[in-house]
Symmetry: C2
């Protein structure tokens, strides 16, 4: 099996891979809040275990085996988040750190039973899709509010920023998953988005509009 550190590197590489094909040492170091030299050491180790494709100075990508491990960790993370929110009544901004620990519990039998216990949920509390027990991951079909034109709208279905400050802000504004919104106006000066929601009108910054996702 893989160590905790290895699992965290694989997860980070997986997430960065959705942005760029090949991931650089510095990107990984930044994502993991560590030094580039530490990353290099670990890359050699992961390469020896054939979990990544790596040649010096050329960046890395996950092998099929590495991706499988990464997706499994993400599956665990999201299922535990769902459990914490739906069964233990935590708020969506409180669960990240706990799930970060729980995702490393090794038993797959445990996570499959948990999945079943909760009725095979499709998305976690932040709207991220939950991979099934075969590693099948629903393709992301959400887009940011900032991509909408005036008079377009949709159902709030996810977030791109998972930080608790952001989630708490959304909660305070009532911008929670399931709410229907419509874009009334986009102020050209700074791209502030004016939204209609539940007979209320509210303004969100370009930044917020970029990180708040709706189903099309």
């Amino acid at each position: 099996m893989n160590t905790l550190a290895e699992e965290n590197y694989l997860k980070a590489i997986y997430k960065l891979s959705s942005l760029t094909e090949s991931v650089s040492t510095n990107q990984i170091a930044a994502a993991m809040e560590t030094k580039a030299s530490s990353v290099t050491d670990m890359l050699r180790k992961l390469s020896d275990k054939t979990l990544i494709n790596y040649t010096r100075y050329q960046g890395v990508s996950l092998t099929e085996a590495g991706e499988k491990v990464a997706i499994n960790i993400i599956r665990k993370h999201r299922l535990w988040e769902y459990f914490l929110v739906e069964k233990l009544n935590f708020k969506w901004d409180e669960v990240h750190d706990m799930a970060e620990e729980l995702e490393h519990i090794s038993s797959n039998e445990l996570i499959d039973r948990l999945d079943e216990f909760m009725g095979f949920p499709k998305r976690d509390p932040h709207g991220d899709p939950i991979p099934d027990c075969n590693g099948q991951l629903k393709i992301n079909d959400l887009k940011p509010i900032s991509a909408l034109a005036v008079s377009a709208g949709g159902i709030i279905s996810g977030v791109r920023d998972h930080s608790s400050v952001f989630l708490q802000y959304l909660e305070k504004q009532g911008l929670i998953i399931g709410k229907k919104i419509t874009v009334k106006e986009i102020i050209s000066y700074d791209n502030t988005v004016v939204l209609q929601m539940d007979n209320k009108v509210l303004q969100i910054s370009r930044e917020v509009a970029n990180n708040l996702l709706i189903a099309i």
Copy 2:
């Protein structure tokens, strides 16, 4: 906070302390399947953190702080075992290794919510008492079947041996928690105990009788 290794040592010392007042280096080494020299190193570390009372060659005992940590780990272990059996339908001989990992999840808020979610259970699936959130642990009021005289009886309420071989054997014999048994005879040759249970008569060895606990 404490490392995983530290937590496991504290737990081992706690368990050994129920047998003897002061715990020896070799006892700990045996319990943890490690070498005495490794234990000595860790004892100095735990002593520096004032989690144990330790003077060279004199054996160790937990300080109040150390006992608090140990009981908290045991609380977590037993609550997770209860969850795995009662909510995820695992069998009582399958849950130990998973609970061994889950007991190190740090959040106390999480474990308190889990406790509440399950209705504040008093005993884990093996009959061991679950400490409450203040570290209060019900005193053990169970005794082995081997301590009963002929014609005495009681309700099967716990086990002393948690190994899966033993638990599977009990399950196969129908000797599960909640069953009422009566001692019909004790064969003097080898102390085999003859039991009456549900209109059935069965024999168990002295060894088994020693590890199967009943409420008085």
